[in-house]
């Protein structure tokens, strides 16, 4: 599969940057507080997790597509003086893209260490997709003329047309795809942080209410209030941080299909941006899909996990349904996916929780219910039954596949420790 990948030469910044700190708030519905308080809490946790002081941080990035809080508010609350910050628009696929931007601005000498955060009351304030929002009576222009006038306005409605065509083109079935939810719910049952901790079956998914064909209620992710944060720095500083660095091998940011203003005009609607992104991701990383021990394929919907794994080359095009229903993605399987439970079960933060999870997996320090030794280090049992362990055995390489929509995606490959 990876014959063309040249893993012998150094590519770009491969191995020169790392994620050194991660942090989050609880995942709730009804945080009872502001996005400012949530964001400040998560950023502080991530910085402390790295073993850094507030004044070691001089760069900040955030993203939002609904409610959020500017970097300046969070920096002010934490007494951080910034040499660089930027708050950008965007939802899913932003995490990986901003990691790449952080590497770039540090490399340019603009700052030394960047914290990236996402803060949202995604359930109690502004809900993605805008269900119930009474903003329809506007005049339309641009491409809105050709979608919204016909009542197509949510992500589920737009994406569902890709999912339906994938079923038509390749014989993919809702039953195959329901395994994604069932598997992620198994993982979430071993995640004390997860919003939904109960396990569900394929039958539970298929018998739940149909929302937008072929999506049942349980094919759709949970909406939650939360903030998440990660700290990115160069390897020479990463070495001095508290944990083993999660070394960045490769990053792709908001890579697009052709005609991205209307992506299904060019090429099949059942192909997603990973088809293009993989041509950057794997050669730059110096590894291929076969080398990856666990994945974080974005699960806004069950189908998005499948489509990305397929188009990034974890299986042949069209075999995604078979891949996700084969058991490979389960804890204990050959390549687990979204061991936290992901957006379907843990909580919704536009992708950042999946990166946080893989950083902890690489450290071998997943925050499950396994007992801790006298030094506070968790002694993992690798018993993946309900309420048990969710640490993967000695993972070396992870891949995060971020999804904005069928036409746009981002990705990140990380490795355990300095390479």
């Amino acid at each position: 599969m990876n014959a063309e990948i040249d893993a012998t030469s150094e590519k770009f910044l491969r191995g020169k940057y790392a994620i050194v700190g991660v942090g989050e708030t609880p995942y709730t519905r009804g945080s009872g507080t502001t996005t400012r308080a949530l964001g400040t809490y998560a950023v502080r946790r991530a910085i402390e997790d790295a073993g850094l002081r507030m004044d070691d941080i001089d760069g900040m990035l955030s993203y939002s597509g609904n409610d959020s809080i500017p970097s300046t508010a969070v920096a002010g609350d934490l007494g951080i003086r910034l040499n660089f910050y930027m708050d950008v628009m965007g939802g899913g696929s932003s995490t990986e893209a901003l990691i790449g931007i952080a590497m770039g601005v540090i490399e340019a000498g603009m700052c030394k260490t960047v914290v990236i955060f996402r803060s949202m009351n995604g359930y109690s304030q502004i809900r993605i997709g805008g269900t119930g929002r009474g903003s329809g009576a506007s005049n339309l222009s641009g491409d809105g003329l050709f979608g919204r006038a016909y009542g197509q306005s949510s992500a589920a409605q737009a994406f569902a047309q890709t999912f339906m065509r994938h079923m038509y083109d390749y014989g993919t079935t809702p039953e195959q795809i329901a395994h994604v939810k069932a598997i992620h719910s198994e993982h979430a049952s071993n995640n004390p942080k997860a919003y939904y901790k109960h396990r569900v079956t394929v039958d539970d998914v298929l018998s739940s209410r149909m929302i937008v064909k072929p999506l049942h209620l349980l094919d759709c992710c949970v909406e939650t209030d939360n903030a998440t944060a990660i700290v990115v720095t160069r390897m020479d500083r990463a070495r001095d941080c508290k944990h083993m660095p999660a070394t960045i091998l490769s990053v792709v940011g908001r890579c697009c299909k052709p005609r991205i203003d209307n992506h299904y005009q060019a090429g099949p609607i059942s192909t997603v941006a990973g088809h293009y992104a993989k041509e950057i991701l794997w050669p730059n990383a110096g590894v291929g899909p076969d080398d990856v021990d666990l994945t974080g394929s974005y699960d806004a919907f069950t189908f998005t996990t499948m489509l990305q794994l397929e188009d990034y080359g974890f299986c042949e095009k069209g075999d995604g349904g078979e891949y996700v229903s084969s058991g490979i993605m389960r804890l204990g399987g050959a390549r687990p996916n979204n061991t936290s439970g992901g957006h379907l079960c843990e909580g919704y933060t536009h992708g950042m929780n999946m990166v946080i999870e893989n950083v902890r997996q690489l450290r071998g320090e997943i925050d499950d219910s396994c007992p801790t030794d006298t030094n506070g280090k968790r002694q993992h049992t690798y018993d993946y039954s309900t309420g048990g362990c969710r640490q993967v055995r000695d993972p070396e390489i992870t891949a995060n596949l971020g999804w904005a929509m069928p036409g746009t995606g981002s990705a990140l490959v990380m490795a355990k420790g300095e390479r």
Partner: protein
Amino acid sequence: MDLVKPIPRPSTTTRPFWDGLNERKVQIQRCDACDSWVFYPRTRCPSCLSDLLIWREVSGQGVLYTYTLARQPTAPHFADETPQQLAVVELDEGVRMTSTLVNVEPSDIVIGMRLQPYFDQVTDDVTLLRYQPG
């Protein structure tokens, strides 16, 4: 609450498309420089960057490329259309457009079925291009 659905506001670039629909005609742009069909309307051909985009009347017929049935309207304005039969139609010229299906039962919708235009005049000035079997 009286909910008003979003209504297209034609621009200089898109007006011929909407004016055509008011006359029960489907008009799309064709690039005279590279012989490609272009949708949605714009000022330059995305294939060759020529501005020789000529409005041509076409049959409007095509096939169902993909669809979904939305049982939960995201915008309350569309609650009266539930389930919304949202579709992408591939015209015989090859371009694809978002629309809605009418005069067909949800259970009879199949990808690849032949479709023909259904002109739905929604206001004095605006006609939407919906699709029906045919």
